[in-house]
């Protein structure tokens, strides 16, 4: 069999090769389509990451509160709930079940529902990382904060969390890469992201190998970019004089 990369320059409707590879005047080529799909993948992932970081940090912090067993239990329940249901099932729940049961959610576009699903799914994993990051700190740090007359909130804000977040940057890197990979599951509810593009373009053009190769390359480039960005953040956030906290990324 032979390669045919020209297929990317073809118009998606008439299947004619377009000069310059980018569609003009409202027409789109497969290349245009793929780049827009990449954009959707990035949007879903980044928005879900923001949501997951906010919710996950909050839940993870709650789980380390001392003398508040009820709150800790609720936090644990949150993590167990979102960790023990497959992501695909969670996406179906958000997409099909939530709008039926909660009327307010009916007008919400699928894109937002997928962001919510992926964000909450990942929040459980991030909560786990944040909790272990805080618990990895010597107990003296908390006591020192409280002894200085800080409230619990101030102890977390000024003493514990700044250190904990630096420790967990390596596992957060792999969580970020996981979010990008997991965003592919959104194909199941027809969000126009890369995997959806791969499946549809493969069917339309019968050029599966070229399409899949290009999409795979997009994913690898994304993963590499995240890796570099996180390494940069890690370097900038490093506390001078502190030995780099070793931590192997989960998967």
């Amino acid at each position: 069999m032979s390669w045919d990369w020209q297929v990317f320059c073809e118009d998606t409707i008439e299947r004619q090769v377009v000069q310059g590879c980018f569609g003009k005047g409202g027409d789109i080529t497969y290349l245009d389509w793929m780049l827009s799909a990449w954009g959707w993948t990035v949007s879903v992932s980044v928005l879900a990451l923001v949501l997951a970081l906010i919710v996950g940090s909050f839940i993870g912090t709650l789980r380390t509160l001392q003398g508040r067993p009820v709150i800790v239990r609720l936090g644990n329940a949150w993590v167990e709930l979102f960790r023990n249901i497959p992501l695909l099932v969670q996406i179906f729940l958000w997409y099909h079940v939530v709008p039926t049961l909660i009327p307010v959610m009916q007008g919400v576009p699928g894109f937002v529902l997928v962001v919510l699903a992926l964000g909450f799914f990942t929040s459980a994993r991030i909560a786990e990382q944040v909790r272990s990051g805080i618990q990895a700190l010597p107990r003296g740090q908390r006591y020192a904060g409280l002894a200085m007359g800080f409230t619990t909130f101030q102890t977390y804000r000024y003493v514990l969390l700044p250190m904990a977040f630096r420790i967990i940057i390596p596992p957060l890197t792999s969580e970020t890469m996981n979010i990008f990979k997991n965003s592919s599951v959104a194909f199941a509810v027809s969000v126009a992201e890369l995997t959806m593009f791969a499946m549809q373009a493969q069917e339309e053009t019968s050029r599966g190998i070229e399409m899949y190769l290009a999409v795979t390359a997009c994913y690898i480039v994304s993963a590499f970019a995240i890796n570099r960005i996180m390494a940069f953040i890690e370097k900038r956030a490093r506390v001078p004089g502190l030995i780099v906290a070793g931590g192997s990324g989960g998967h």
């Binding site: 709930l81 992501l87 099932v89 099909h96 079940v97 039926t100 049961l101 194909f187 899949y212």
Partner: protein, 230 residues
Amino acid sequence: MDMNLDFSFYNWDLISNFVLKGLYFSLMLTVVATIGGVIFGTVLALMRLSGKKWLEVPATIYVNGMRSIPLVMVILWFFLLVPATFYGIFGSIGRDYRAEMSAVITFIAFEAAYFSEIMRAGIQSIPRGQVFAGQALGMTYGQNMKLVILPQAFRNMLPVLLTQTIILFQDTSLVYAIGAYDMLKGFEVAGKNYGRPIEAYLAAAVIYFVMCYALSWAVKRLHQKIAIIR
């Protein structure tokens, strides 16, 4: 809008007709992929730790490559690439269950990459003195691995291995992409047939949750037990 949930359509007939068939496949896929993944993962880990460039480099590329691509894409790749003639070997079963067989191959190949990382960490957690002790006793590389290193490494990484198996069980739902008939599909088909998709998805979520939660609880217990003995 119909907001009344009605689970009354669930009965044993429906479950045994639609769901059990899928559950068998999900469990079978999990078990086969775990066993296959551990075997090939061990080979990959040994290649990466062999210190020989020509073994190390391909294994590293394979593992890192698999780990940077979404599982759904890997499933699609294998479904596209494994030729129809391969399924022909298995006769009519191969033709009727093409998606399912493709899923099995994919999961073994994909999980091998993840298991190899666990294996590698496990092997590296063994003190170097153990390796030297084996060599000092005159053991060959193979004997040393089989009798000294791997038994200890397996034990060290058992909890992580089982946790990965739970993740693997959850990931089996992704065979949805190629239309293989797993447990989720079973619930979906049942829900469509009875016009109750909402209840079907809810039931699927509950069943997955109960199974995964029970398994992870068991792994936690096991972890504590192993930790006490040491």
